[in-house]
Symmetry: C2
Subunit: 205 residues, 2 copies
Amino acid sequence: MNVITKIKEDILSSELPRGVPLRQTALSVRYGVSRIPIRDALSSLKSEGWLVSHGKVGVMIPSLNWKEAEDLSLMRAELECLLFEMAFDDIGEDNIKAARKYLFELGKESLTLVCRGELNWHFHNTLYEVANRPTLQRVVEGLNKQAVRYLGFQYGPLSYRSTSQDEHEVLLSLIEAKNKKAAVDFLRRHIEIAGKLLTDYLKRI
Amino acid sequence: MNVITKIKEDILSSELPRGVPLRQTALSVRYGVSRIPIRDALSSLKSEGWLVSHGKVGVMIPSLNWKEAEDLSLMRAELECLLFEMAFDDIGEDNIKAARKYLFELGKESLTLVCRGELNWHFHNTLYEVANRPTLQRVVEGLNKQAVRYLGFQYGPLSYRSTSQDEHEVLLSLIEAKNKKAAVDFLRRHIEIAGKLLTDYLKRI
DNA sequence: CAGATCATTTTTGTATACATTTTTAGTCAA
DNA sequence: TTGACTAAAAATGTATACAAAAATGATCTG
């Protein structure tokens, strides 16, 4: 497992402190590598939204907040549906099959959140990639990767996991039925409902 | 001027070759720095969409293409309008004034494309930032920065520059008139029309 | 005691050196 | 000739060392 993933895990598990700047030297001893790969990782994580550069203070772990959750959900609803619609007609048997494989993996119990996030993305991306729209796809990928930070709530307090699995199944059925409009609408709801649930929860606490 | 900007300039002016992998060593002698800052720059440029990592071959300058132009325009239309609408009611005198300052700068003749792109972004961002939606704003910023690659066409063959200036003026007027719906619609058209012009042109050549 | 200035320490950025991986070129056998 | 295997070369990743910048804290002055 590479440094980026390790840092992500440690952010999710709160083993890295929030609110204080992360020091390159400290991280390099923590993960047993030199500062160069740490610097690389930090810059990646910054562009993925997992870290923010707070002026001269240094790089910090941003707190989860409803505005970000809402923004991510709004953007995903718009852009993923657009991409999905572009892809729809070219989704074939083999894509569905590949998607089911990821869905099966997602059903397993002992998976780290980061891993779960990856699988979730692979599932969706299997459907999106046939659109052959690299630029749109890249942005959507970025949004999904950033959204992983919030997965802990969905699988924890909101116990959204089994719902999510079921919804993914329904989505595949709609694709197999070649029911484009219904499928796109369903995807939009899938994203919006999960987003609203999460946003409301975050506003509350 | 830092290495990232220099590389961007050289990409726009085609002084760096497209289609062949960029070598870190070559770049480091070209720009007179060691490989570390080059690596940093390359990773930034990759996440900004100015470079793509083509498998094991190495990092390359992607060719401009209508699909990317269209994707960027579609995404900007959706997301910028959303952000603009969120911001609208909080745009004040001072924001308008700041925006006009950037507009004035944009009127000058001798500006590099990269600089022009920066100013254009600052103009729009002045209006967006009051929305206080960091996540959405960051994505929109990324899209705008990526779109800079295509600015050469707009200011060259498509001679869109004076039109663009005029449209920016109109937008400010609509804001001053507190005409929210009209302003948002106008922004959407502004983005869509420029996008369509560019996309059609790129399909043609 | 408040505030400013300067020295010390810490932190980050960059250069150089080394290790690992990948690519290339060449040789040999079928 | 072609294909596979091996050695050389090149390119990238990583470690260490050094330089520049920033933060800290102590001392001095009003």
